[in-house]
């Protein structure tokens, strides 16, 4: 058990240190993705024709392996955390943009008409009516993006130990210590589960207005996604 948490010194962090780095590398891209996705989604809602091409671009970007991103980025940002976080930010858009657009579009016509009739301008209406009502959908998207980002960080090990917990996989190989690989996998999975749980709590706190019965029904679709997404996301870590 001791050897389980005995992290080789070449990683320059103890176990907790690796967790902190891992969370930073995983969560900052999701936050950045959210900040990018909000105005982008608003544009897509306003200009209907823009949505299909935006969706297409985000999907194509998602299809580019992170290794390819690293090859291009390394000339500009070097072997740094930033090089890992940029592709992760881009990947998060593929989930976040549709989540926000669909959430905002799900606001009932009557609610929008009422807001307009009360003299809400477009910006006020987006911020005060559409976004709050889209919160459940946005948080469902954030859960998927967060879980997949946490597992994707590990590929950073490919560019000189920038993969946080993922670096343990590499060390497990070179030092022939399989328990380090177990540590990496179990710890990232635990982080993913905890982060997901935290987002569920945030959703509940932000949406006291959601009917209890409906909440159960809605989260069946939203809740099923992160769990099933977690599996391919972990497989994605090999990208």
């Amino acid at each position: 058990m001791n050897r389980f948490f005995d992290i080789p010194s070449d990683l320059q962090h103890d176990w907790l240190g690796l967790i902190v780095v891992h969370l930073r590398e995983a969560l900052l891209p999701v936050l950045g993705g959210l900040l990018l996705a909000l105005p982008l989604a608003q544009l897509c809602v306003r200009l209907r024709w823009l949505y299909p091409p935006v969706l297409w671009v985000t999907t194509v970007l998602y299809a580019i392996p992170s290794l390819a991103f690293f090859v291009v980025l390394i000339d500009y940002t070097g072997q740094t955390e930033l090089t890992v976080m940029i592709p992760l930010t881009v990947y998060s858009l593929v989930v976040l943009v549709p989540a926000i657009v669909d959430g905002v579009r799900s606001v009932p016509q009557e609610t929008l008409a009422a807001a307009t009739a009360m003299g809400f301008g477009p910006v006020r209406r987006y911020v005060q009516v559409q976004l709050p009502i889209a919160v459940p959908a946005i948080l469902a998207g954030l859960r998927v993006a967060t879980v997949s980002s946490i597992s994707l960080v590990s590929v950073g090990m490919l560019i000189g130990n920038q993969g946080a917990l993922g670096n343990l996989l590499h060390d497990a190989q070179i030092y022939n210590r399989p328990e380090l690989a177990w540590n990496s996998v179990i710890t990232s999975a635990a982080l993913a589960v905890l982060a997901d749980g935290a987002l569920v709590v945030v959703r509940v706190l932000l949406t006291p207005w959601m009917p209890g019965a409906k909440r159960g029904a809605k989260s069946r679709t939203a809740g099923a996604r992160p769990e099933s997404a977690a599996v391919p996301a972990l497989e994605d870590a090999a990208r």
Partner: protein
């Protein structure tokens, strides 16, 4: 009713009538003038075709017509959610395009079907929306919201609830309260009560009439239910498909003189009966001779029976009707209340309309209607024949004094 009383907080309305100021105005001036307005949607649909309407001040104007005839479009052109393709809309004499849309809209309450409440806000915060937008403090806006909840008949305990925790009728009340929050002179209502059951709808309609009597708003009300139109409207505009005006008249006139076959059709087969709603039952000759108290003596019963009425109405000691009986079946001192024929639903003499009186007579097993006073004591009885005569008399009177008919004389 104090609304936008603080000059700092008040919106700059294009017309200077807010809250109490309008009290001094002449009743039934023209507030909104729709002047040969046409709306052509980009796909070529003509939703409204050269419509002209003068919407009177401080009264309820109802737009009614079949589905797709342009009612919603017309309503939304008033607050410029839809811009007219041709023609102008004047509000208190000023072109509605001369002020910013948001200012215009904040001076007009808007109520829609299913209320369109903000599901993420509590009841108070929903109602406080426009005052908050006008810069009122949170406390002042919430105090105003609570005042309005009381006014529209919502219990204060609902204040902190979310819309999903309310029934449809309660949501609709919140919708009305929200539209009234900043005390706008104009209220636009688009089928506000069509999604609730008939009993709740009747309650909401009565409430609206009461509110209107208290607040004196200018209400434009859209419905496709002609009964609702006749009940609520001071003036009713019947639109036909294609957005053309078929008739614009007070409801009594609509029922007595439909402009054409379309309007007549739209009013339905029983417009003659419905028209009776506008005649008061006050003129009926009530007979008191056939009314006997439950403790009547044998002589009293014999004396009453002598009148040429086939039945006697037995009343309790408090004067309330108990039921009908044939004179021969009554034994003084031993009246069996259980044996009496039911007297149906009585009408309130003078307050209810001839329609209610006729309804009572038709439903009564004896063919006679029972009239009661405001306290529910029997005021007399009246036969179908007598009601029929009163109806003929009222019709003759109405056509002779067509101009001076007060459309709201009788309670409907």
């Amino acid at each position: 009713m104090r609304g936008l009383d603080s000059p700092r907080n008040g919106p700059k309305l294009g017309w200077s009538r807010v809250g109490g100021i309008s009290q001094t105005r002449r009743v039934f001036g023209v507030l909104i003038r729709i002047d040969s307005v046409t709306k052509r949607y980009p796909d070529g649909t003509v939703a409204v075709d050269r419509l002209s309407l003068d919407i009177p001040d401080r009264s309820i104007t109802v737009l009614v017509g079949p589905s797709g005839c342009g009612k919603t479009t017309t309503l939304r052109m008033i607050n410029r959610m839809v811009e007219p393709s041709e023609g102008t809309i004047l509000i208190d004499g000023v072109d509605s395009r001369q002020q910013s849309v948001n200012t215009l809209r904040r001076g007009m309450g808007y109520v829609i079907q299913n209320a369109g409440l903000f599901q993420h806000r509590t009841v108070v915060d929903n109602i406080a929306t426009v005052p908050r937008m006008l810069g009122w403090s949170k406390d002042k806006a919430r105090a105003r919201a609570r005042e309005l909840m009381e006014r529209v008949g919502l219990d204060a305990s609902f204040a902190k609830r979310y819309p999903y925790q309310l029934s449809g009728g309660q949501q609709q009340r919140v919708g009305v309260a929200r539209a009234l929050a900043a005390d706008p002179p104009v209220l636009l209502m688009d089928e506000p009560f069509s999604a609730v059951d008939p009993v709740v709808r009747k309650g909401l309609q009565d409430e609206l009439l009461r509110l209107q009597a208290e607040l004196g708003k200018t209400i434009v009300f859209v419905t496709h239910d002609i009964d609702e139109a006749v009940k609520l409207g001071t003036m009713v505009a019947v639109l036909r498909t294609g957005g053309r005006l078929a008739q614009f008249a007070p409801p009594a006139e609509l029922l007595s003189d439909p402009a054409d076959a379309f309007v007549e059709d739209f009013l339905g087969a029983d417009r003659g009966i419905r028209r009776l709603s506008f005649f008061s039952s006050g003129g009926l000759d009530l007979l008191t001779a056939p009314v006997v108290a439950v403790d009547a003596t044998a002589e009293q019963i014999a004396c009453r029976a002598a009148s040429d009425v086939p039945y006697l109405l037995v009343t309790g000691l408090d004067g309330r009707p108990l039921g009908w009986s044939e004179p021969g079946a009554l034994t003084a001192g031993r009246v069996d209340v259980g044996q009496l024929l039911p007297y149906g639903r009585p009408f309130v003499a003078g307050k209810d309309s001839l329609r209610a009186a006729l309804d009572c007579a038709v439903l009564s097993p004896t063919g006679w209607a029972v009239a009661v006073d405001a306290e529910g004591r029997a005021a007399g009885v009246v036969s179908q024949t007598a009601i029929g005569e009163a109806i003929r008399g009222a019709h003759a009177h109405a056509s002779a004094h067509a101009a001076s008919v007060d459309p709201k004389a009788a309670t409907r």
